[in-house]
């Protein structure tokens, strides 16, 4: 038996699990969760680690971790917030968002074209950890890049600026931004439509370790860990990338993590198949991507989720006019983020809001296809990522862990219901439909093990993938009774 300890420091709960990765059948042995200790994140980690290792309080941890190495990820204190800057919304501005999300960031803001005083003021009030500054192909646009470098230079931003734009502008940008903390990497879009987001992703990881981990009381946790601490979404991202190694049935997987503040979608599938009669327009996305929707969440973001999902919800409610009561629920959920639905009506509202979040997050993650008739026959024009090949959807996060398989209003899973509505949606203007999974199997990450397994995915890829596959299929480890709601809604 080879035991490893994995901890996920959330904004409300510090969750942990003890895994066995050495046996023939790797397994999750025990789970625990304690409230996150906001003043010193180390305290909560130590408490949960002692609990899982059966150590008395105050016992030194380091010796016990010799035969159960510790891995940790964190989304505490707002996680990793990134502002994504690019030029054209469908090109470098989109690439910047994709790179930031795929590095585990929360998109604190995103801007295209020229940063004006208003945009700079918005960035200053947001104070992101990192500004991912893209724009221009190599040897391409200079004017917007120059203007935006000047705007950032004159700002009161404390963030590290990560320049991943036009390579020909590197020297000039470095000169303009010499007063700022600046990191320069290869262009995330060296040619129109061609992506190279890996250097930016790696750099974001480095910046996270150097400036963010240290700044948030994670230094002592890091000293105990066997590997670097990562932002929680990056842990999940890595696990999604590893899942395929657990068997062929895991080769095309989509993972949804819906929380109180955001709805995140991860997918690992070929973005464009190049079938006969299909044409891809715009950027070609990598097989493994993450999108994060800051306006779609069940608690902190309940108001914006309701606003975005208004049409979806009214369609689902039909002639049933519960909108007033729904509004009250939304207000309560937004103000009191730990609230859980108590009555059947509140459960229905929570479900409807969740469905709306899922519906829009899925549509934004997926690419679209529209038909065009040409002299040589019908052609399908694809934009974005094709998810039709996805065979499995894993529902994770507090709400989906509770209700992923069955909604309050019937037997259908909220995921499948939202998916069906999203698949039926056709853009009125262009006739474009979303390229969504066609008949996926929905599995629930009931124990919220994904981030915990993501922590160990790099060191034990096979073990992590095996445990993920096994836990989702059936097995159920009960949480201690005092923390049955040990899922973050933030």
């Amino acid at each position: 038996m080879k035991r490893v300890l994995s901890v996920d420091i959330g904004s409300t709960w510090t969750k942990a699990a003890l895994f066995d990765v050495g046996s023939q059948t790797p397994a999750a042995l025990r789970r625990a969760a304690v409230p996150t200790t906001q003043d010193d994140l180390f305290e909560g980690v130590a408490r949960v680690a002692r609990e899982l290792l059966d150590l008395p309080a105050e016992a030194p941890l380091a010796p016990a971790l010799d035969d159960a190495p510790l891995y940790a990820c964190s989304s505490a204190k707002g996680g990793l917030s990134i502002a994504a800057i690019g030029i054209v919304p469908d090109l470098t501005a989109r690439v910047a968002r994709l790179a930031a999300a795929s590095a585990g960031g929360r998109i604190a803001a995103h801007h295209s074209y020229r940063l004006g005083t208003r945009e700079v003021a918005a960035l200053e009030s947001e104070q992101p950890d990192i500004v991912l500054f893209c724009g221009g192909t190599d040897g391409g646009n200079e004017s917007y890049v120059r203007a935006n470098a000047r705007a950032l230079s004159g700002s009161a931003l404390a963030a590290t600026i990560l320049y991943a734009g036009n390579a020909s502008m590197r020297d000039e940008v470095s000169g303009i931004l010499r007063g700022k903390r600046l990191v320069v990497v290869a262009n995330a879009m060296p040619e129109v439509g061609a992506l190279d987001i890996e250097p930016a992703r790696q750099a974001i990881r480095g910046i996270y370790l150097e400036s963010i981990v240290k700044g948030r009381g994670l230094g002592r946790v890091r000293e105990l860990c066997a590997a670097d601490i990562r932002p929680t979404p990056l842990a999940v991202f890595d696990l999604v990338g590893m899942l395929a190694s657990a068997g062929r049935e895991w080769s095309d997987t989509l993972v949804i993590d819906m929380g109180g503040a955001t709805t995140d979608i991860y997918s690992h599938t070929t973005a464009f198949h190049g079938e006969e009669g299909w044409v891809l327009r715009g950027i070609r996305e990598p097989a493994l991507t993450r999108t994060v929707e800051g306006d779609l969440g069940l608690r902190v973001s309940a108001r914006s989720a309701w606003h975005t999902g208004e049409q979806y919800i009214s369609q689902r409610l039909g002639g049933d006019h519960a909108a007033g009561a729904l509004g009250e629920w939304v207000e309560r959920a937004a103000r009191q983020t730990s609230v859980l639905p108590a009555s059947p009506e509140e459960r229905m509202f929570d479900d409807l809001l969740a469905e709306a979040c899922l519906h829009h997050a899925l549509r934004r993650h997926a690419g679209t296809v529209e038909e065009a008739y040409t002299a040589s026959g019908k052609v399908r024009v694809q934009k974005g990522k094709d998810l039709r090949g996805v065979r499995r959807i894993v529902a994770s996060g507090g709400f989906l862990a509770r209700r992923g398989m069955r909604g309050s209003t019937g037997s259908a899973s909220p995921v499948l219901r939202a998916l069906a509505m999203a698949r039926a949606h056709v853009d009125e203007r262009t006739g474009a439909a979303s390229l969504l999974p066609e008949a996926p199997e929905v599995l629930t990450d009931r124990q919220y093990l994904f981030p915990l397994l993501g922590n160990i995915a790099a060191a034990y890829p096979h073990g992590a993938a095996e445990i993920a596959a096994a836990c989702l299929a059936n097995a159920h480890l009960a949480l201690p009774p005092d923390s049955t709601e040990g899922h973050d809604h933030a």
Binding site: G136, S143, V381
Partner: protein, 137 residues
């Protein structure tokens, strides 16, 4: 001098052979070609031109509906900040046989700097393109 050009076939048109020939030809003539391939919308031409800082956009249209696909092209460039970009269009621009002058007049009125027919000389086009780009302020 800036020698970056954006190339593509406009509208619901899948003819890609000519597009590849133009790509190879202009590349050989020393241009940096951003080739968007077939079925390119006006906004995609303009998006690419902005990111790549292109000096010219060369629109091909071969299926006779060029007039529809190219309407408002210059206006859209102006709206999106590309006031001075060189705009060329070429191919089978209209259905049936129409006098060259008539077709040219139509597309020049839309704001295209030059209009080419299928039999036109590519060498001459490359020479004109270089001169037109260099003539831009």
């Amino acid at each position: 001098m800036n020698r970056t050009i954006v190339l593509g076939v406009a509208g619901a048109d899948c003819h890609s052979v000519g597009n590849r020939i133009l790509d190879a030809f202009f590349t050989e003539k020393g241009f940096r070609v951003v080739n968007l391939g077939v079925m390119v919308s006006q906004d995609e031409f303009i998006d690419a031109a902005i990111e790549a800082n292109a000096a010219a956009i060369l629109v091909s249209s071969l299926y006779g509906h060029g007039e529809l696909d190219c309407a408002g092209f210059r206006d859209r460039c102006v709206e999106r900040g590309l006031e001075r970009i060189v705009l060329y269009v070429g191919g089978n621009l209209v259905v049936g046989k129409a006098p060259r002058e008539e077709v040219a007049a139509k597309f020049t009125a839309m704001g295209f700097d030059r209009v080419f027919m299928p039999a036109d000389d590519l060498e001459e086009a490359a020479r004109l393109l270089a001169a037109d780009i260099d003539g831009q302020p």
